[in-house]
Symmetry: C2
Subunit: 384 residues, 2 copies
């Protein structure tokens, strides 16, 4: 029987690839709902192709635009902006792909968890901002959270069948991003265009800049900390420019289990969507003989200090990771708009984190407030 | 409670390392029995240290020697040569480490399987000669066979928790052995000393030469075919000189799960011994950053054709793998004794396999006869 799915963030990079997976496996999925932020035109195209029963847009103006584009007999348009979270908890939905970028994805992820859905989590901010809360509620509500990040999907696959108590370390691989080989003294002159040229992965702008600063890997450390319920000191980052080894788990006997694959997000997306089964994908097989060498190096905390802030935020606890995440959103936005140089992203984040007074995390609303506070602090510091 | 174990082949390379694992984990194992071939002196030392209740030697003269070395109040010496297989089926034994080298290990492995023991299988010839029979009997007798080869242990660990029906390929890694970079025209002049210098693994002589010819990898293909019940065309060999990735499993979505580790047989030995748990080993951790590059290349069937014979033997079926294994034992012996040049090992095996008329496999005795026939055929051809 077809799995009844809702895709939140269907017009973004992950959402579009998820729909590609759906199209290539007729009968396997039924697209019950599609939700997006502002891109009404693309959502209308997706509606024509996938015929969902429900649609939603986060932006009220875009929702009105979509209403004009949808003909009679089309899907039900849920009210903006709360319709996105509403869609995540519809009884008609079994599986929610949480693929909205940034802190904006948190409320709908939380709604999916509260409704006990199986969640394919591509929105890392949900766990960065409120991982402690979400994972606790997921356990209480019997909601299964499946990672869609390639790294966390790799760790998930490398933990399956093994004993969690025997894990010594998680090893998150990092491509090192587009600026991996750029010397420290040239980093201030890096342009947004240069920083957006990711060598291996095709992703959204925010995450590509986070990949260049290594903040992405830091956020993934926070995500892994909650997703796999593991102490931060047991999570290490290793730079692996070829992005073939997607991540690894080291067990107490020294044995390391790893997941490898081509750099195509349809791998982890389809894994989460089809879980506990796998889908035959027509990706090119991983041909290690033709790849040449796989290399590894430690991350450089001098040129790319952002990842170290994630460990610091976890140590501060409570609202600190949310504040860091918010600061990073604003700092990346400022960099992309040409309002600050590349190395300023990390230093802005550091200043905001140092100014933050962490409070124990009690609600999703509080996490979002801390993130907003971080954003404002970073934005203010850019101007100043 | 301590796991009650018997080690068959305790004075060989695997046996000695297994006893090292035992010594480093006091209270975890009780050595109920130790059996060896001819080395009475070393077995007597092991008896003094590990105080087994039973000992056995395959060689009757060595058994008499051992009896002289054992003081009063020592272990019970089982009769030679059948005592080795007897030990494998003792009710006092839970776990049998089958670490006798060559075809000589088959009868005791079969005895352990018949007795429904958990078997740590380091003797690959058991499966090469009679894998079809042994695996069927293991299922019937509820005997669990756990691989001790690093490659098969890696595959076992990479299959855990995943769906067998979703396996696309097994990828057995091969170091390529000590002669990997030697040009074809220099192979006839290779001496036993050169061929015995394995770059990564410390193993017995026979297996080190098999590693140099790639016959070892061919025998591992046969082993994997039975151990994991998978068609030979789904088993590929990939040369990986660094021996860090111990082997891999590719699933139908293109995802590859691999097991990595340092090159120390105590890893797979202790994994099998402690299964389903892991033992904390004091091996140096795998430090990928310090290792430099991991490289992969296809195996070269021109310089090292021996591995291709394994696929051919599997295709012939029945007694053919046993005949091939026997031919290889005699050919390696001839090479080590300086009686034939290195490339002759593979061509002898090929000639014997071509001369073999495969019969359906009905008994362990028949498998041993086919292996003996292969040995004699190869030995005769060396002389001729």
């Amino acid at each position: 029987m077809a799995k009844r799915i809702a895709i939140l963030g269907s017009t973004g990079s992950i959402g579009v690839q998820a729909l590609d997976v759906v199209s290539r496996h007729p009968g396997r999925f039924e697209v019950v709902g599609l939700a997006a932020g502002k891109n009404a035109a693309r959502l209308a195209e997706q509606v024509a192709r996938h015929r969902p029963r429900f649609v939603a847009m986060a932006d009220p103006a875009a929702a009105r635009e979509l209403q004009g584009l949808l003909g009679p007999g089309g899907p039900e348009l849920l009210p903006a902006p709360e319709g996105v979270a509403l869609m995540a908890s519809l009884p008609e939905v079994e599986f929610v792909l949480a693929a909205i970028a940034g802190g904006a994805g948190l409320r709908s992820t939380a709604a999916a968890v509260e409704a006990g859905k199986t969640v394919g989590l591509a929105n890392k901010e949900s766990l960065v901002l409120a991982g402690e809360l979400l994972m606790r509620r997921a356990a209480e509500r019997h909601s299964q959270i499946l990672p869609v990040d390639s790294e966390h999907s790799a760790i998930f696959q490398s933990l399956l069948g093994h004993n969690r108590a025997e894990v010594r370390r998680l090893l998150l691989t990092a491509s090192g991003g587009p600026l991996r080989a750029v010397p420290a003294e040239q980093l201030p002159a890096v342009t947004p265009a240069q920083a957006l040229k990711h060598p291996n992965w095709s992703m959204g702008d925010k995450i590509t800049i986070d990949s260049a600063t290594l903040m992405n890997k830091g956020l993934e450390v926070i995500e892994a900390r909650w997703l796999f319920d593991i102490e931060p000191r047991r999570i290490d980052i290793i730079v692996h420019p070829e992005s073939v080894v997607h991540s690894m788990v080291e067990y107490l006997d020294g044995s390391v289990v790893a997941q490898l694959g081509v750099s195509d997000m349809r791998g982890p997306i389809s894994y989460a969507m089809a879980w506990p089964e796998r889908l035959a994908l027509d990706l090119p097989p991983l041909d290690l003989s033709r790849l040449g060498a796989l290399t590894f190096q430690p991350p450089d905390p001098v040129r790319f200090p952002a990842f170290t802030l994630a460990y610091r935020a976890l140590e501060m606890g409570g609202t600190a990771p949310a504040a860091l995440s918010g600061a990073d959103e604003a700092a990346v936005e400022a960099f992309l708009a040409g309002r600050c140089p590349f190395p300023r992203i990390a230093s802005l984040c550091e200043e905001v984190l140092e100014a933050h007074v962490a409070e124990p995390l009690r609600s999703v609303g509080q996490a979002l407030e801390a993130s907003d506070w971080g954003k404002q602090q970073a934005a203010r510091r850019v101007m100043g």
